[in-house]
């Protein structure tokens, strides 16, 4: 059952508590300082919509090239370090993981580089011919 509460327009609470300052910087800095691989963000006291918060954190991470992935799971906001493995050890070259065009994973990044010769073109063209998408 969907429940509503009757309210008179004049009783709508239009008061604002005011700007509470920037949220992305302190949250992300605090997360980095924990030195943990993954953490769930406790939203208590933040007074921020989780969807909004995820969006602004994502933008901040991108614009500052931070080694953090922000994601939702079971409705909770999670932060994950990309420069640490599951044991908390630093991952060399973690930036390489971000080199693939958005949406791709770059699974063949560690293949041996090959020169572009006739055989290579034939092999790759055979794979691409008749395809329509990347």
């Amino acid at each position: 059952m969907v429940k509503f509460v009757d309210i008179d327009p004049k009783d709508i609470d239009t008061s604002r508590s005011g700007r509470r300052g920037r949220v992305s910087y302190p949250i992300l800095k605090a997360f980095m300082e924990r030195n943990a691989k993954v953490s769930k963000l406790d939203l208590t006291g933040l007074h921020k919509n989780p969807t909004y918060l995820r969006s602004v954190l994502h933008s901040y991470i991108n614009s500052h090239n931070m080694p953090i992935k922000v994601f939702s799971a079971a409705g909770d906001l999670h932060l994950m370090r990309l420069d640490l493995d599951n044991d908390g050890n630093f991952v060399e070259g973690w930036e390489d993981e971000l080199q693939a065009t958005e949406g791709a994973v770059g699974l063949e990044r560690n293949d041996e580089p090959t020169p572009i010769n006739s055989a290579e073109v034939k092999k790759r063209f055979t794979k691409e011919k008749g395809q329509t998408t990347k």
Partner: protein
């Protein structure tokens, strides 16, 4: 080698669109052309898989004089990762190569988001391009004739809108080099994707437009496509 007897210069983004690059090279190879692939770096990668390939020269190792001396039959630009692709749009060296190609009427070709790279050498030339707003503005500002069709051959210029047209684009490049008539004729369907500018504070927008000396308002309604005059408002 083909009767043209010269290789084609293929300029690709260092993180290239695999379908575009390998389909172009495959068609060229099937039609017995040779080619040289150059890019921003000697190690290039498929933008999705990051599979690496090596090339012998970067685009910066190619001199405009090589173009003028007719060492290449054509210059083709292939796109890929947007930041790498757009880096070519305003790259002065690449522009020099394209201008050298134009001076001697070489075939120049580009596809998808690399078409705006050709903008400075496409005044009054009909082009197909991937319809990003910034591509449209750049091509329009340089005087290119914007076409809605997916593939356009105009004089010595072959352009295609998106990667799905790659094979046809590559075949038309070969046809042009061989003096054959255009193989694929496309009718303008009249369909244009709706475009809108990123929303920006009107005061900021007005300041930018005033500084540029022109402005464009793209919105639904009577003002669609009209030039915005900041002094009038």
């Amino acid at each position: 080698m083909n009767q043209v007897q010269k290789p084609l210069l293929v300029i690709c983004a260092k993180r290239y669109n695999g379908h575009e690059l390998w389909t172009l090279l495959g068609v060229l190879q099937e039609r017995d052309y040779e080619f040289e692939v150059v890019s921003q770096a000697l190690l290039i990668r498929d933008e999705l898989t990051l599979k690496p390939n090596t090339i012998e020269r970067t685009v910066y190792d190619v001199s405009p004089d090589e173009i003028r001396e007719e060492k290449f039959a054509a210059v083709c630009v292939v796109s890929g990762n947007m930041s790498d692709t757009e880096a070519y749009w305003t790259d002065p060296h690449v522009l020099n190569l394209l201008q050298a190609a134009r001076e001697i009427n070489l075939v120049v070709a580009a596809i998808c988001c690399s078409v705006p790279t050709l903008a400075p050498v496409c005044k009054d030339v009909a082009v197909s391009y991937f319809p990003l707003m910034r591509s449209r503005y750049r091509l329009r500002d340089f005087g290119a004739v914007l076409r809605n069709t997916s593939l356009t051959v105009d004089g010595h210029t072959v352009t295609a809108e998106n990667q799905m047209i790659t094979q046809m684009w590559a075949e038309e490049i070969c046809n042009l080099l061989e003096g054959k008539p255009q193989q694929y004729q496309m009718e303008d369907s009249g369909f244009t994707p709706k475009g809108s500018e990123r929303k920006m504070d009107p005061l900021v927008r007005a300041a930018i437009d005033a500084d540029r000396g022109y402005g464009m308002v793209l919105q639904k309604g009577p003002n669609k496509g009209k030039i915005y005059d900041p002094k009038a408002s």
